[in-house]
């Protein structure tokens, strides 16, 4: 234990002595979060939709057919009760729901007006706006057609945004930023710190000493874990107080989930350190191999729904994607642990795989 403590102390010295990097590590998230605005969104195809048809008449059948024919929507479920809407959203099965009122046709024929409700998941505000716009357009189209005999029909749409009623972009980029920052600090900094020891030759001295290799790794990871937790806290404080994004779910759960992702990123860094020979190589591998795919494929900037299928598959192997899903669920939607079990298992799988791989590579290197 004494060995371990001396070693951890040393790691903290390294970090505090290099105050420029330290300022950078804490400064990046602060500037990013304060500068980053809304992300650009292109059209979104095949959004999962659920329809609650209270009317069951010719008008509602016609509209349903139009949704079914549209390339923008993919009907995943026909609902029977209003309660189901909420349930499907929480399961993450649908992006949008449309509710046809009872007696839709009657209202149109006799009252000349009807109201259709559209419910969208606004935790990704851009996507919610765009797809509820598409839905309104389909309904408007139908309205135009039935005006044929010069009688004015009005179908109004009532759009209800779930989870993020004010459609703030921050709701989308805060989780993404958390994923990116934690990945940056944990994976890249750990990889560089370990490779630096290799480059300086001090790793050899450590391997010859009685200190166990796993202790070296844990001691290196510890300061970065702490730093990352501090950064997570800063991002959360800034988003709550500067960007007015409330934390809907449990803060403790959010921090625990962040810790899980931190460990996953550290294992990635560890894996990189067993491959890279120089600090520059480690940094390049982290930037090209981690940062770029994470930014592009994690759904942080571009919606995953928009990507070609092959990139959608590729996005599954980006740990940050799963973490961002978790943060969206817990922080924005206020869901509990049971709704993110799948994501947790996937992250856990990444950790096991990466650590196993690193140990294998480490053994080979010693031979």
């Amino acid at each position: 234990m004494k060995q371990f403590i001396s070693f951890v102390k040393k790691e903290f010295y390294h970090i505090f002595r290099d105050w420029r990097s330290l300022m950078l590590l804490i400064g990046i998230p602060i500037t990013q979060i304060l500068i980053l605005g809304f992300a650009v969104t292109d059209e979104i195809k095949n959004s999962e939709i659920a329809i609650l048809d209270n009317a069951q008449d010719a008008a509602s059948q016609n509209l349903e057919g139009r949704f079914r024919a549209s390339k923008y929507f993919h009907i995943v479920k026909m609902l029977h009760t209003p309660d189901e809407i909420d349930r499907e959203f929480r399961k993450g099965k649908i992006k949008i729901a449309v509710v046809f009122p009872k007696g839709l046709r009657e209202d149109l024929m006799h009252g000349n007006k009807a109201q259709i409700e559209i419910v969208a998941d606004a935790s990704d505000p851009n996507m919610a706006t765009v797809i509820s716009g598409y839905a309104s357009a389909i309904i408007l189209d139908y309205q135009q057609e039935i005006i044929s005999d010069n009688l004015p029909y009005f179908i109004t749409t009532k759009i209800r945004m779930l989870y993020n009623p004010e459609l703030k972009g921050a709701y989308n980029f805060v989780p993404g930023l958390m994923g990116l920052i934690l990945m940056l600090i944990c994976a890249m900094m750990t990889a560089v710190a370990i490779v630096r020891e290799k480059e300086l030759g001090t790793m050899e001295v450590l391997l010859v000493s009685p200190i166990k290799p796993y202790m070296i790794v844990i001691a290196k990871a510890l300061p970065y874990t702490l730093l990352s937790l501090i950064n997570t806290t800063i991002i959360l404080l800034l988003s709550v107080y500067a960007l007015k994004v409330p934390i809907a779910g449990s803060v403790v759960l959010l921090l625990l989930e962040s810790l899980l992702f931190i460990i996953a990123s550290l294992s990635l860094g560890l894996m990189i350190s067993t491959i890279a020979k120089t600090q520059q190589a480690a940094m390049m591998m982290s930037i090209v191999g981690l940062m770029v795919p994470t930014t592009m494929l994690s759904g942080y900037i571009y919606p995953i729904e928009n990507m070609p299928l092959i990139l959608q598959w590729a996005s599954h192997i980006i740990p940050a994607k799963w973490y961002i899903n978790i943060v969206k669920a817990v922080m924005i939607k206020g869901l509990g642990f049971q709704s993110v079990i799948k994501e947790n298992l996937i992250l856990l799988g990444f950790i096991v795989l990466l650590i196993w791989g690193s140990v294998q590579r480490f053994k080979i290197r010693l031979e």
């Binding site: 040393k10 391997l207 009685p210």
Partner: protein, 247 residues
């Protein structure tokens, strides 16, 4: 019969179709200064890595400080010191912090570290610079500090991998005085080197050629056998037999 610190018998390391160390056999006694010479790629680093537990031998046997290199590596690690050509100090740590770190890694108590450190700083006349970053020290001082740290936990044997690379002759001379001092204290010194004048300082020298030990004796003995005036001439005669290209 003096106490043996290294007992090495037919130690062999094979990488696929390349034999890096071929049935290397020798012993080193307590307090001896043993020089390990050879051209680049002759296999000296391979042998040293095996003795330090950084690499597993393919066959043969070896005992370091009385412990078996196959199944007592943890014990070996506690009883050896190691210094590589890169000196292995942390430049962004102070002199004191470097000493404390290595003392801690070898499990010495804080009180013990403190006491030994005071003494060491005085010996190296580094007391005034104790709280300075190692980065600012002259190369020669770094080297002395690195060596002192390598023997801080009083190992039975210290391995020096080309310890004097890039250092001027006067500093090298002073460094060898430290090595003599160490050997007088009963710590065995095992050093690889390129410098033939350094080989003269050793009690005994082994010259490796193509993974085998070609010659092993005291510097004077070698000079007699190979009819050379200096170690340089001896090395030239012995190493000329090499068929393997340096890497």
């Amino acid at each position: 019969m003096p106490e043996l610190v290294l007992e090495i018998d037919k130690l062999t390391k094979q990488f696929e179709d390349f034999v890096a160390a071929d049935a290397v056999t020798f012993t080193v006694s307590k307090g001896e200064i043993f020089g390990f010479l050879g051209a680049n790629g002759a296999g000296k680093t391979t042998v040293m890595r095996m003795l330090c537990g950084l690499s597993m031998p393919t066959s043969g046997s070896a005992k370091v400080a009385g412990f078996d290199i196959y199944n007592q590596t943890e014990e070996i690690k506690k009883h050896i010191g190691y210094m590589s050509q890169k000196f292995c100090l942390y430049e962004d740590l102070t002199v004191k912090e470097n000493i404390t770190l290595y003392g801690g890694i070898y499990g010495l108590s804080s009180a013990h570290i403190k006491e030994k450190m005071e003494k060491l700083l005085k010996e190296l006349s580094l007391t005034e610079d104790a709280n300075k970053l190692v980065r600012g020290l002259p190369l020669g001082w770094k080297q002395k500090l690195a060596f002192s740290i390598a023997i801080f936990h009083e190992p039975k044997i210290v391995f020096l991998d080309e310890p004097t690379g890039g250092v001027d002759p006067i500093t090298r001379r002073q460094f060898w005085e430290m090595i003599y001092e160490t050997s007088r204290k009963g710590i065995t010194v095992f050093a690889t080197t390129h410098y033939m004048d350094e080989a003269e300082y050793c009690n005994r020298v082994a010259i490796m050629v193509d993974g085998k030990i070609e010659a092993m004796d005291s510097p004077d003995g070698l000079k007699k056998t190979y009819n050379g005036k200096t170690m340089d001439e001896v090395f030239y005669v012995v190493a000329r037999k090499a068929k393997r290209q340096a890497d």
